[in-house]
């Protein structure tokens, strides 16, 4: 039993009926397919920005050995911790306040720096590409000039 993108092998379940209900619910909420693409594109762009193009194994990609993940300098998993088993709840509250404050002030600046790093990396890759293209042009012109002289 197959209906659009839904598959239920159990013959006692009416897939077409479920699919119809889903269509009705979506129509009722007024979600058009176009709208659902926005978060998907956002996720794809963010992936390219933070992790990079997974297929970038070209000579150019290897020329600039900085990976997009290297640009990210935000220590998201770091928490201030200390293990002095006194003061109990006060200790926990103080620790939480310090962690929250550090995240609020420091992380905002570091996020900006990480974004800047990614932009620099993109610009560097662009320049490397342009450089390779210009080199090719120079070589081609040189070749043409030599054959003219020859």
């Amino acid at each position: 039993m197959d209906s659009d993108w839904l598959e239920i092998s159990d013959k006692d379940v009416n897939v077409e009926e479920i699919m119809q209900q889903i269509r009705e619910r979506i129509a009722r909420r007024g979600v058009s397919p176009g709208k659902t693409e926005v978060p998907t594109t956002m996720a794809e762009n963010l992936w390219k920005e933070m992790v990079g193009d997974a297929t970038d194994e070209s000579a150019l990609g290897k020329l600039i050995s900085i990976q997009p993940r290297d640009c990210d300098i935000v220590p998201r998993h770091y928490v201030i911790d200390w293990r002095v088993p006194i003061l109990g709840p006060i200790h926990a509250v103080v620790r939480r306040i310090i962690n929250d404050e550090i995240r609020r002030y420091l992380f905002a600046s570091l996020e900006k720096q990480a974004l800047f790093n990614r932009k620099v990396l993109r610009a560097l890759k662009g320049l490397a590409e342009e450089n390779a293209r210009l080199r090719q042009e120079i070589e081609a012109l040189r070749g043409a000039q030599e054959s003219e002289i020859g």
Binding site: D12, Q21, I22, V31, T36, P39, M50, V51, D72
Partner: protein
């Protein structure tokens, strides 16, 4: 006759480690002498596992040595295997394609690549290849194996008969909880889970939560990406639980309203069977071995229609009769992975090897 097993290391709560231990129980139950050999002796299994250096005391051309293969062997193990005269069978648990680790973890990426290359070498060393699923066996066919068999992962309910952790229950019980269990890894497509839950919260149930249970060790760049995505979507109620104990895992299943998998690469999918056992309705993306593990149970989605899947989850939560139907079929399916069922399959596979293996 002796049937021994080898895996580089064995750990509790790890699908392969559990399979090695369960298989040992089955083999002994079938009357075979069976030991587990490891390259690195695991701390918690002293006495239950032996070093490969000790294998010379057991080795014989009449023995069968089951080689569990998931991420590749060290060169030392490969040369050891070349010298061992025993009959060998590879038990393939699948290797995540290396492309998923591009830009995330170079060590994993390289290990996955090397592991696949080693498969070619192993095909010449072993007389048969067993996979957890037909999907895994298909890869063995491509790598040159001709004698194949499917030996599913053994699901032992005994392992889950623990008291669910109270703290987890207190925190999450009640409300709409969408659960996924698995290592935080790009092949499991956590971003698709997040996007689906974005629509669940926006369209269907604003109070819904996404509970993600599994370790992210070695996958920090991917976790950073996921957290940044959550932030950009302005999404709240997405929780990364990390690695959990069995008592915590049981509690998470007890709190779950729906189990959602958008994974693109699974060699079997133990959490799917766990969800069947705990009566959590499953919605899963149809990819790799997932449809095979689910059999004729659960709900498969063949496209990543996030809004549509969100509505489907809404239906499952609201329509009790639909949920009961799905769960009832899942309960039937999960029986296929119980030790006594797999024991029959194991007996057949051993018999197919011939030469003294009795039915």
């Amino acid at each position: 006759m002796q049937i021994h097993q080898f895996h580089p290391t064995v750990a509790y709560g790890n699908a392969i480690g559990d399979q090695v231990l369960s298989l040992q129980r089955l083999l002994r139950h079938l009357g075979y002498s069976s030991e587990i050999f490891c390259e690195q002796l695991p701390l918690h299994f002293q006495g239950r596992t032996r070093r490969i250096a000790q294998y010379s005391h057991y080795s014989s051309p009449a023995n069968i040595l089951l080689l569990h293969f998931s991420l590749g062997y060290s060169p030392a193990v490969l040369s050891w295997l070349e010298q061992v005269p025993d009959r060998k069978v590879v038990v393939y648990h699948n290797i995540t394609p290396h492309v998923y680790f591009n830009g995330i973890n170079d060590v994993y990426r390289q290990a996955a690549e090397v592991g696949r290359e080693q498969l070619d070498r192993l095909s010449a060393l072993t007389e048969a290849g067993w996979g957890d699923s037909t999907f895994n066996c298909q890869e063995l066919v491509e790598r040159g194996w001709t004698r194949l068999g499917v030996l599913p992962i053994i699901f032992d309910p005994q392992r889950y008969r623990v008291r669910p952790e109270r703290q987890v229950l207190q925190r999450w019980q009640g409300g709409v909880n969408i659960l996924f269990v698995g290592r935080v890894s790009p092949n499991k497509r956590f971003e698709d889970l997040i996007l689906t839950v974005y629509y669940v919260k926006r369209l269907v149930r604003p109070e819904a939560r996404l509970l993600l249970v599994g370790s992210w060790r070695g996958m920090e760049p991917y976790l950073d990406f996921l957290q940044a995505l959550i932030e950009r979507l302005g999404l709240s109620d997405v929780f990364f639980a990390g690695h959990v104990s069995t008592a915590q895992l049981v509690a998470y299943y007890r709190c779950a309203s729906v189990y959602l998998s958008m994974s693109e690469h699974e060699g079997f999918g133990v959490p799917l069977v766990e969800s069947m056992y705990f009566g959590v309705p499953i919605v899963a993306y149809k990819a790799a071995a997932v449809p095979e593990t689910l059999g004729d149970s659960s709900i498969l989605v063949t496209a990543k229609d996030y809004a549509g899947t969100a509505e489907l989850i809404g239906l499952l939560i609201e329509d009790a009769s639909l949920r009961d139907q799905i769960v009832a079929r899942q309960r039937e399916r999960f029986q296929d992975f119980l030790p006594d069922r797999v024991e029959g399959r194991l007996r057949e596979l051993l018999y197919s090897l011939g030469n003294g293996v009795e039915k």
